[in-house]
Symmetry: C2
Subunit: 400 residues, 2 copies
């Protein structure tokens, strides 16, 4: 059972979370708990580090920031004990969570679950501080923002848990954003790969790395609310999903910007001349489209995160000569709409439903990109809600 920052934001919520653990224990389950920092605490600690030095030592940042989860783990253990549940807190280093040395964004290298399993066998609930581990030179590391999800999945794998329940402030994964259409339905189950694709297009329920790890280690993850008593959404292997819909969800992202380079010379190496420097500048390029060559030149269109747009302009200006294009068009008023579903593999015509549905609403598609289980299109941002609602209906996802 993993509780995120909002689920342990104050003492009352810690008590509430402890009550949920107590119920699971009373039902005869063996439980291990992973906790985040109380919400707001991490921000305060990060602020202090940044105020002392904008370029602070990531190793010291980790020593400071990791205390947030340690505090919650101790408080949660006290709350559990006061409910009569035998419990003990564990820091990352105590719990055997080894990471690499990439301070501030470390990756878990191994988890030795031996001590925790022994504690559980003795009837004790371990409460593990998430988001942290032990790196080289006995130093404390943190996994980067949202890393507690990854801690929970890694521990679930090490303990060979039947399930990893991630308690959060939403009650599951929906077919689309319920703020856009009241017809959005909570999914009972979703496949790992679908969850990954949804996360990558803006549905931030779980940290991407935690889903990757769950998929690799075959950990069954449940996303559920710590504030409501309803079942959540199970993230599982697609084989576990008996009735596969063609499409499981519609996602959107407004954090997009489109760049078009006109009249780029159509010769080998031109793509490298454009995307090499962008990559070096840490710009993540998403969709890329190159039109058919007409007059020895071509148009190259690609999308980036909207916040990267100023950086992209600077990089392209700097490398204008090597690229050979004088005309750079940028459009920040675009949105990416994606339909996602492992069912696509066995259903033909999924993309076509998307194109005709959008055409029927008079929405122009600017860029198309596809993967095995996803079709994404770029459209004008103002059509976002209209497009999502129309596609939700077209793919038969609307709630009854």
């Amino acid at each position: 059972m993993k509780f995120g920052g909002t689920s342990v934001a104050d003492l009352d919520r810690i008590r509430n979370a402890a009550g949920r653990v107590q119920r699971e224990v009373a039902a005869g389950h063996e439980v291990a708990v992973v906790v985040s920092a109380m919400s707001g605490v991490t921000n305060q600690l990060v602020e202090w580090c940044a105020a002392l030095s904008p370029l602070h030592d990531a190793r010291e940042y980790d020593a400071v920031v990791a205390t947030g989860e340690q505090v919650t783990s101790g408080l949660m253990a006290i709350a559990l004990q006061s409910l009569g549940v035998e419990a003990r807190s564990w820091t990352g280093w105590q719990a055997g969570v080894q990471t690499d040395g990439a301070h501030g964004k470390a990756r878990i290298a191994s988890v030795d679950g031996g001590l925790l399993l022994a504690a559980m066998a003795a009837g004790q609930v371990p409460v593990v501080a998430g988001f942290q581990g032990l790196g080289p030179e006995q130093r404390i590391t943190t996994l980067g923002r949202g890393g507690s999800d990854t801690s929970a999945v890694a521990l679930a794998a090490a303990l060979r848990a039947d399930r990893c329940d991630i308690y959060t402030d939403v009650d599951g994964v929906y077919t689309t954003d319920p703020r856009i259409t009241a017809r959005a339905r909570k999914l009972d189950k979703i496949a790992y790969e679908e969850m990954l694709e949804l996360a990558s297009v803006g549905a931030k329920v779980l940290q991407t790395r935690s889903v990757e790890l769950a998929m690799k280690e075959r950990v069954r993850v449940q996303v559920l609310s710590s504030f409501a008593d309803v079942p959540g959404t199970l993230v599982v292997d697609e084989d576990e999903i008996v009735e596969q819909a063609m499409v499981s969800g519609i996602a959107y992202s407004r954090d997009e910007a489109k760049i078009t380079l006109r009249h780029v010379p159509d010769r080998p190496g031109v793509a490298a001349a454009i995307f090499g420097p962008l990559s070096e500048a840490q710009v993540n390029v998403d969709m890329i489209v190159q039109n058919v060559s007409a007059d020895g030149t071509t148009d190259m269109t690609f999308t980036v995160s909207r916040t990267d747009l100023p950086r992209v302009r600077a990089v392209l200006a700097e490398h204008r000569e090597a690229i050979g294009s004088n005309t750079v068009l940028t459009d920040p008023d675009v949105a990416k709409i994606s339909v996602v579903g492992v069912g696509m593999r066995s259903h033909a015509g999924v993309a076509n439903i998307m194109f005709s549905t959008l055409a029927g609403k008079g929405i122009n598609i600017q860029v198309i990109s596809t993967s095995e289980i996803k079709v994404s299109v770029l459209i004008a941002a103002e059509y976002t809600e209209l497009a999502v609602r129309a596609l939700h209906t077209a793919y038969g996802l609307d709630a009854a």
Copy 2:
């Protein structure tokens, strides 16, 4: 260099403390730093534990509370680095501070200074989180309130330091409380034993245990202000103090209450009948006076901490029969005045000066107690300032 809570209360003060470390390093000294939690932080953490459960697990309390010093150590390392001083934070467990398992008030069992010495040899300033260590079962322990002083002295001993500088919000040890007389003088040096006696009678500059440890390990301790650039007071072996005054300081404590049991049967075992139950009730009895027996009964007078008075009354009432006295007189309006000095050993008449000085001011002495280097008297609380000032003058302590 050890910095207390007020010396690292906020980022500006942490920067200020880092500046002091930088100056020592620039002067060619090898420095290790010990830090307390930012003032207020520990109280917040303690409050949270208490709010979740009044009888919380001391092991979890330690896991929660020890984070305060860990945060400061990381922030201090960042502040030092930003001043160009190579530095690294160390938690208690990283620094090799082993303690017993008395969670919440653990005692340091051993300090393995090897890793810190290696870091220092490589030109790095270790910044150690005070107040904490590693106990049995790899669990984090804390040393109890004020324990960072003890951490600093223990580390100074392990590192064979030339000196242990304790930075605090006062600039040294004074002949008496400067709030009572402007003639109080800062002492250049004071002997360990004098410091212990002063601490035990209310001059809370250093934690008692840290002074005991310094005396045992012969660590030269300097108490000085982190806010002023003046030398502090050296706490050293008495052999180091060349010109020993008869009396080094006058201390007082208003936290006293006097209890008199009238007409106690004067027979063997009566003292045990009184003080046994008080000891079991965790009441610390200080001065004890038994008058000469007159009619087969005697009067027994003793003092306790004023906050313990209700408990004392309850215990005495409960054991009235065994004690055999029906009359219990209590007086909470008393103060203890002490003159302290290792010079007493070689000077006769120290106590007499005290008695005649107080008599000269018309102050009645209610109880007297002496040790090798201390004479204490109990007087009515309203005379406290008058007595301290008169004695300060009488023993030649007044500033010129």
